[in-house]
Amino acid sequence: MTYLIALLPLILVCATAVAVMLGIAWQRHHASTVLTAVVGLNLALLSLVAVHQVAPFETLLVAVDGLAIFGAVLVLVSTLACATLAHAYLEHYRGPREEFYLLLLCAAAGGLVLVSSRHMATLFFGLELLSMPLYGMLAYAFHERRSLEAGIKYLVLSAAATAFLLFGMALAYAQTGRLDLAGLTAGLGEGGGAWGLAGAGLILVGLGFKLSLVPFHLWTPDVYEGGPGPAATFLASASKVAVVIVLLRLVIESPAFAHVGVHQILAVLAFASMLIGNLLALTQANLKRLLGYSSIAHFGYLLVALVVAEGLAVETAAVYLVMYVVTTLGAFGVVTLVSSRDISGDAAALHHYRGLFWRRPYLTAVLTVALLSLAGIPFTAGFIGKFYIVALGVEAGRWWLVGGLIVGSAIGLYYYLRVMVTLYLVEPGMQRHDAPHDWGTRAGGVVVLGLAALVVLLGVYPTPIIEWAAALGVAHG
C-alpha cells in the first residue's frame, strides 16, 4: 500500500495518458481531451499531499523524499501550464490536436520518474521517457519546416548526448560495480578512480546537454525558436527542472561526487554558460531565441549553487528553481498566446511585439513582469533567486563566479530592457500577430495572469518558498 501511495502521482499521470489515448481512439474531441489531461494532472498534484505523509520512502530504484516531491510539484505545475497553453495554441491548428496531450503526459511521467530516481536505471529511463515525447512535441507542427527541423535537431543531438551518458554510466559502473547513485558516487569519490573521472565527465555531458550548458547548448536557440510554443515551454520548464533535480542528487546529496575534477568542470561550465549565454542573447531579434539564450545563462547561475555544494546550496538551488520556473512559464506563456492565432510559424520576432502594449496592455504587463524577473529586478521572483545565488557565492568566496554573474546580469539587463522598450513603442502600421481578443478569459490567459501575479507575490513575500526550500536544505544538505 505504501508503495502504491508513494507512486500514486506517477500512476495517475500514466493512467491519464492511457485514458487520453483511448479517448482519441474512440472519439476525437479537443476540449474533453484537455479536460481529461488537466484533471489527471491536478489529481496527481493533489495526490502529492498523500505522498507527503509517507514521505521518506525508498526502494532500490526510486526515492520518494522531499526533493522528489519538490521536483514533482514543479514538473506537474509546469505540465499543467503547458497543457492549458496548448489548449489555446492548438485551437486553430488544422490537424490532429489531441495527441499533443498524450505526448505531454508521457513526458511528464518521465519527469516524475527522473526527479525521484536514485538508480542509474531509473535515471536513464526517466530521462529518455522525458525526451522521447519531446521529439514529437517539437516537431508537432510538422508541415512547418522550422518545427520539423527543431524536432530532428533535438533528436539527433540528444541521441548523441545520450550515447555519451550511457558510456559514462558504463565507465562509472565498471569502476565501482554499483548502479545506485549513492553507491556509485561513493565509489567514485573514495578511489578517485582510474576512469571514474572520465565516466563522471561523460555523465555530465549527457545531463549538461539537457540543461543546455555551454558548450552543449548549441541546440537550444534553434529548438526553442522552431518548436511550437507549448513544447518549447515544456522544454524550458519541466524538462530542465527534472534534470536539475537529478544533478542535485548527484552532486549535493553525495558529497563524494564533489571530486575535485568534477567540481572544476562544473565551475567552468557555469562560468561559460553565464557569460556566453548572455553575450549571445545580445544580438537576437527573436524573442524565443532570446529566451533560449537567457535560459542558458540562468542555468549557469543555478550551477553556481551546485559548484558550491555546501552550506545553503540545496536551499539556494531550490529557491532559484521555483523562481525560474514561475518566471519562464509566464514569459513563454505570453509568447504562446501571442502566437496562438496563427499556427504558421510562431510570432516570436521582436518586431511582432513592437507596441504590443497599445493593443494588449495586460498581456504586455505580464511579459514585462516576467522579463523584469528574468533580469532579477527587486520585487520580482527572479530577484530573490539571484539574491540567493549571489549570497551563496559571496559566502563561499567564489569570486570568479560572482564576477561572472554580475557581468552576465548587467548584459542581461541590457537586452531584457531592449525587449521591454520595444513593447511600449508606438509606431504606425504595426500589428500582425496577436492574441485573440478574449485571451484574458480563456484558460491560457488566466494561467498567464496568475503566473505574473505569482512572480510579483513571490518577489515581495517569498517566505513560504524559502521555508520549503530550507526544509529541503536541512533534509538533503
Partner: protein, 939 residues
C-alpha cells in the same frame, strides 16, 4: 510608526496621478503634490525628537530568512536628504505641470516621478543594508522609466538604456559588497553595521568589500570613469534632469559613502581611492562644462564636476570635510536645481538649447536673467552666495589633509584649477545666454514664462542667497544633526562668511580672477579643444556595445549557423575533451590483467572488422556497397562472440544481423542509389580528425577498463542459472526466467512496433521504380529458378532447424528468440524467391494474430504461476524422457519461450513482408489493389 508613513505616502502617491489624470493638468498636479507635502510635514515633525538626540527607528520583519527587514530610521543624515528629496520634489511637480505639453501622458510621468521619490526616500531612510539596496535598484528602474519617458526619441531610449546598464551593473557589485559586509558583521542592520567599524576595517576581506561598495557608489554618482552616462541621461525631460541628475539620484552614491563612512571609511585605502577619483571627476567635468555648447550638457558636466568635489571631501574624511561635503550637497541641490529649471524655461521659450543660437535674452526675459545669474554666481563661488561658503571650506580642508604626504600641495593646486574652470563656465553660461548678442535668432521668439513655472526657481535662488548671507541661522541646525549622524558625535562648528584673510580666500580670489581671464580667452580654448578628437561618451559606449555586438554576432554566426553537423561536431569535441581529461588522470593505460594471446585468426578478424567499418564510412554515398560493408562488420562481430566462447550470443547476433540486413535492403529499394556529395574537403578532414580521435579515446578507455579487474553481475547468473532456472544456457535462462518480466515487456513492444509499422505502411504511397538509374527496366525474370528451387528445399529444413533450436534452447545455444528469427528468415526467403503472389496464396494467414498470440501465451504462462499460488512468472521445471531426443528437461519457461517465438515470428514477418509488399499490388494500403504502377507514379 509615523516613520513608516513617509515612504508609504509617497508610494501611495504613485496611484494618485493615475486616477486623477482625467480631471486635467491642474487637478492632477495638485493632487499629486498633496501626499508628498504631507510626507514632508511628517518629516519636519520628527525634528524635535531628533534635536533631543533620539533617532526614530521602526522595524517590521519582512524576510527574516534573508536578513531583510522593513526597517526605517530618520537620523540627521536621513533628515537632510529626505527634506531635499521631498522639498525639491514638490517644486519639480509644480514646474512639470507647466513644462509638459498638453498631449503628453502627464499621468504616467507623475506616477514615475512618485515612484522615484519613493525609492529615494527609501534609500535615505533605510535602516537595513538590503532594504537600502532594494530601493537603490528601484531608483535605477524608475529613473530608466523617466529618462526614457520620451520613448519615441531614439536618443532618449539609448541614454536610458546606457544609464540603466551602468547603474544596474554597479548595483549588482554593490549587492555583492553589501552581502560581504553583512557577512563580516553578521547582520544587515544598519545600527549594528555602523558600530562595528573597527571589526570591518580589520577584516581581511575589507579591500574587496570596499571596492565593490565604491563601485556601486561611483556608478550611481557618475564618478570617473563611470561619468559618461550622466550627460546622456540629459535627453530626459528637463524636470527629470533637474530632479534626478542634479538634486537627488546622483547624490545617492554620495549618500551611501556618507552613510557607510563610519563603518568602512577612515582608512588609507578609502582616502586614496575616493579622493583621487573625486578629484579626477571634478577636473574632468569642469573642463567639459567649459567646452560644451548645449545648455543642458554644460549643466550636466558641471554636475559631474560638483559631484567630484563632494566625493573628494568625503575621501578626505576629516570631520570638517564631512561637514563641508554635506553643506555642499544642500548648496549644489539648490543652485543646480534652479539652473536646470531655468534651462528648461529657456528651452521652452526659445525652442533651442544651443549656445550659438541663444543670446541677448536679458531683454526678453529680465527676471529669468537675474535668477540665472544669481544661481550661476553661486555655482562659481562668488561671495555672499551659498556656493562660496562650501567652496571655501573645500579649499581649507584640502590644505589641511595629510593625504599624499610630500605631494600634499598637489590637491589644493588641482582644486584651485577646478575652481578656475567653474568660474569660467559659469560666466560663460550667463554671458552667452543673456548678454552676448545672438548670432542667429532662436526658433521661437522668447518671453517670460508663466509666473508659477518660475516660482520654483525663485524659491531656490532665494535659498541660495539667504544661506549665503546668513548661513549660521539657516543651515547650522540641519547640518549639526546630519554631521552628528555621520560622525557619531556633535561637531563644534561655526558657519560664517568672513574668516579673515587666509590662504583659502586667496585661492577663491585667484579662481575668480583667473576664471574671468580664462573666459575672456575662451575662443582660444575652444580652438585648443577642437584639436582633440571629441570624446563622445555615448558614442564610445555605443561603439563599445556595437563592437561587442559585432563580436557576438561573429561568434553566433560561427557557432549557431543552424547546421546540425556543426552542432554535432562541437558536442563531440566537448565530450572528447572531457573524456580525454579522464584519460590523462590514468597512471598507465594498461591495467594489471594479463593479455590474451594473439593468433593469426584473431588478427585477420580484427583487420577485416576494421576494414568493414572504414569501408562503411568511406563508401557511404554508395548505399548498396556501404551496406555490404556493414554486413561484414556484423558478421565479424558474431564471429567474435563465437570465438570468445559466447556461441549463444553469436547465434542471436547472426540471426538479428540477417533480419536487419533484409530490412535495410528493402528500404534501400526506395532510396536513390547515390547520395550527392555534400561535404567539402575541409569538413571531411575535420570529421575525420574528430572521429579518429574520438575512436582512439574511447578505445583507450575501453582498453583501460578491460585490462583491470572489475566487478560484474555475470558471476551471479553463471552460478544461479542451473539451481534457479534449471538451464545451462545462461542467456536463455536470463531471458525467460530471471528477466522474464522484461522479456514479456519486450515482446509486447515488438508486437506493438510491428502493428505500428503495419499501420504506418497502410497509408504510405511510395514511388515505385520500374527502371534503374540508367533507364534499364527491371529484370522481367524476377524469380530466378535456382533460388526458387533452393528456397523450396530449404524451407522445411529451416523450419526444422528452428524447432530444434527452440527445443534445445534451455540448455544449449538456442531459444525462442533465435528460433523465431530463423523461422522468419526462412519464410522471407520464400517471399523473395517466389514473389508475393505465390507466397501470399500459400501462407494465407495474417501475421498480426500470430504476434498477439505470442504475447498472450507468454502472459498466460506468467499468470499460470498464480494458479499455483506463486508470484507472477515463477517457473517450474522437471526432467522428462522422450524416445528420440533423449533426456530432456521441460520447464514452464519453455511455454514462455514459445510465446517469445510466436511474437518474434509474427512481428518480424509483419514488418518485413509488408515492407516487401509495398511495391506490389498486394501492398497493405487501403485503396483498391487495382491501381496500376503507372498511375501511382503520377500521384
Amino acid at each position: 510608526m509615523t516613520l513608516l508613513w513617509i515612504p508609504l505616502l509617497t508610494l501611495l502617491g504613485v496611484l494618485v496621478p493615475v486616477f486623477t489624470e482625467r480631471y486635467g493638468r491642474g487637478v492632477l498636479s495638485l493632487a499629486t503634490a498633496t501626499l508628498p507635502a504631507v510626507a514632508l510635514a511628517l518629516t519636519l515633525l520628527q525634528i524635535p525628537t531628533l534635536l533631543e538626540g533620539d533617532i526614530p527607528r521602526v522595524s517590521l520583519a519582512w524576510l527574516p530568512e534573508l536578513g531583510l527587514d522593513l526597517a526605517f530610521r530618520l537620523d540627521g543624515l536621513s533628515l537632510l536628504f529626505a527634506l531635499l528629496i521631498l522639498g525639491i520634489g514638490l517644486l519639480i511637480i509644480l514646474y512639470a505641470a507647466f513644462y509638459l505639453s498638453a498631449e503628453e501622458a502627464s499621468g504616467r510621468f507623475f506616477a514615475y516621478l512618485m515612484l522615484f521619490m519613493t525609492a529615494m526616500v527609501g534609500i535615505v531612510m533605510a535602516d537595513n543594508l538590503l532594504l537600502l539596496w532594494l530601493f537603490w535598484e528601484l531608483t535605477s528602474l524608475s529613473s530608466f522609466l523617466l529618462i526614457g519617458f520620451w520613448s519615441h526619441s531614439s536618443e532618449a531610449r539609448k541614454g536610458a538604456r546606457m544609464a540603466m546598464t551602468v547603474t544596474g551593473a554597479g548595483g549588482l557589485a554593490l549587492l555583492a559588497g553589501l552581502l560581504l559586509l553583512g557577512d563580516m558583521v553578521g547582520s544587515f542592520d544598519l545600527g549594528v553595521v555602523l558600530e562595528s567599524g573597527d571589526a570591518i576595517r580589520a577584516d581581511s576581506r575589507y579591500p574587496l568589500m570596499l571596492v565593490l561598495v565604491l563601485l556601486g557608489a561611483f556608478t550611481k554618482s557618475a564618478q570617473f570613469p563611470f561619468q559618461f552616462w550622466l550627460p546622456h541621461a540629459m535627453s530626459a525631460p528637463t524636470p527629470v534632469s533637474a530632479y534626478l541628475h542634479s538634486a537627488t539620484m546622483v547624490k545617492a552614491g554620495i549618500f551611501l559613502m556618507a552613510r557607510l563612512h563610519p563603518a568602512i571609511g577612515d582608512t588609507a585605502l578609502w582616502g586614496w581611492i575616493v579622493t583621487l577619483t573625486g578629484m579626477a571627476t571634478f577636473l574632468y567635468g569642469a573642463w567639459f562644462a567649459l567646452i560644451k555648447t548645449d545648455l543642458k550638457a554644460i549643466l550636466a558636466f558641471s554636475t559631474v564636476s560638483h559631484l567630484g568635489l563632494i566625493t573628494v571631501l568625503l575621501g578626505v574624511g576629516s570631520p570638517m570635510a564631512i561637514l563641508a561635503a554635506l553643506f555642499h550637497i544642500i548648496n549644489h541641490a539648490t543652485f543646480k536645481g534652479s539652473l536646470f529649471m531655468s534651462a528648461g524655461i529657456i528651452d521652452h521659450e526659445t525652442g533651442t538649447r544651443e549656445l550659438s543660437k541663444l543670446g541677448g535674452l536679458r531683454k526678453a526675459m529680465p527676471v529669468t536673467a537675474v535668477l540665472v545669474s544669481l544661481a550661476a554666481a553661486a555655482m562659481a563661488g562668488v561671495p555672499l552666495l551659498n556656493g562660496f561658503l562650501s567652496k571655501e571650506m573645500f579649499f581649507t580642508e584640502l590644505l589641511d589633509t595629510p593625504l599624499l604626504g610630500g605631494l600634499g600641495w598637489l590637491l589644493p593646486t588641482l582644486a584651485t584649477l577646478g575652481g578656475i574652470l567653474s568660474v569660467a563656465y559659469s560666466l560663460r553660461l550667463v554671458h552667452a545666454v543673456f548678454f552676448k548678442p545672438a548670432k542667429e535668432s532662436p526658433p521661437k521668439s522668447p518671453h517670460e514664462p508663466p509666473h508659477l513655472m518660475r516660482l520654483p526657481v525663485e524659491l531656490l535662488v532665494t535659498v541660495c542667497v539667504l544661506v549665503g548671507i546668513i548661513p549660521a541661522v539657516l543651515a547650522t541646525g540641519l547640518l549639526d544633526l546630519a554631521t552628528r549622524a555621520v560622525l557619531g558625535e556633535a561637531l563644534e562648528f561655526h558657519l560664517a562668511i568672513w574668516h579673515g584673510f587666509n590662504v583659502p580666500l586667496l585661492m577663491s580670489v585667484l579662481a575668480l580672477a583667473i576664471g574671468i581671464l580664462v573666459y575672456a580667452m575662451h575662443s582660444h580654448i575652444r580652438r585648443l579643444a577642437r584639436q582633440f578628437a571629441p570624446v563622445d561618451a555615448r558614442r564610445s559606449f555605443e561603439q563599445g556595445t556595437q563592437t561587442l555586438v559585432a563580436a557576438t554576432q561573429a561568434i553566433t554566426l560561427r557557432l549557431e549557423n543552424g547546421s546540425l553537423q556543426r552542432y554535432m561536431s562541437l558536442l563531440l569535441g566537448a565530450s572528447l575533451l572531457l573524456a580525454t581529461l579522464g584519460l590523462l588522470d590514468l597512471p598507465t593505460l594498461a591495467g594489471d590483467k594479463p593479455s590474451q594471446p594473439l593468433d593469426g585468426v584473431l588478427i585477420l578478424g580484427a583487420a577485416l572488422l576494421i576494414f568493414g567499418a572504414v569501408g562503411t564510412a568511406v563508401t557511404h554515398r554508395y548505399r548498396l556497397i556501404s551496406l555490404l560493408m556493414l554486413s561484414v562488420v556484423g558478421l565479424l562481430v558474431s564471429l567474435t562472440f563465437a570465438r570468445f566462447s559466447a556461441p549463444d550470443l553469436a547465434l542471436t547476433q547472426l540471426s538479428v544481423e540477417v533480419v536487419t540486413m533484409i530490412l535495410l535492403m528493402l528500404a534501400l529499394f526506395f532510396l536513390p542509389q547515390k547520395t550527392p556529395r555534400e561535404s567539402t574537403a575541409k569538413r571531411n578532414i575535420r570529421d575525420l580528425l574528430l572521429a579518429g580521435s574520438l575512436g582512439m579515446v574511447v578505445a583507450s578507455l575501453n582498453y583501460a577498463v578491460l585490462t583491470r579487474d572489475m566487478s560484474s553481475i555475470a558471476h551471479f547468473f553463471m552460478e544461479n542459472s542451473i539451481p534457479g532456472g534449471g538451464g545451462h544456457n545462461v542467456v536463455n535462462v536470463i531471458l525467460v526466467d530471471f528477466r522474464g518480466f522484461d522479456t514479456l515487456g519486450e515482446i509486447t513492444v515488438l508486437a506493438l512496433a510491428g502493428l505500428a509499422i503495419f499501420k504506418l505502411l497502410n497509408r504510405l504511397r511510395l514511388f515505385m521504380p520500374h527502371s534503374d538509374g540508367e533507364g534499364r527496366l527491371w529484370s522481367p525474370d524476377r524469380y530466378p529458378m535456382i533460388l526458387t528451387s533452393v528456397s523450396q528445399a530449404l524451407l522445411p529444413l529451416a523450419l526444422l532447424v528452428s524447432a530444434f533450436i527452440f527445443l534445445r534452447g534451455h540448455n544449449q545455444p538456442g531459444g525462442g528468440f533465435i528460433a523465431g528469427l530463423i523461422a522468419a528468415v526462412a519464410l522471407i526467403l520464400v517471399y523473395m524467391a517466389r514473389g508475393v503472389e505465390w507466397a501470399q496464396s500459400r501462407l494465407d494467414f495474417q501475421y498480426q494474430p500470430v504476434a498477439i498470440a505470442g504475447v498472450a501465451v507468454a502472459t498466460l504462462t506468467g499468470l499460470g504461476s498464480w494458479a499455483f499460488g506463486r508470484p507472477f512468472l515463477t517457473s517450474a521445471f522437471g526432467h522428462f524422457h522422450l524416445p528420440i531426443l533423449g533426456d530432456f528437461e521441460l520447464a514452464t519457461a519453455m511455454l514462455f519461450d514459445l510465446g517469445v517465438f510466436l511474437a518474434v515470428v509474427g512481428a518480424t514477418l509483419m514488418i518485413l513482408a509488408n515492407l516487401g509488399k509495398l511495391t506490389t499490388p498486394h501492398r497493405p494500403s487501403k485503396e483498391p489493389a487495382t491501381t496500376t504502377p503507372g498511375k501511382e507514379k503520377k500521384s
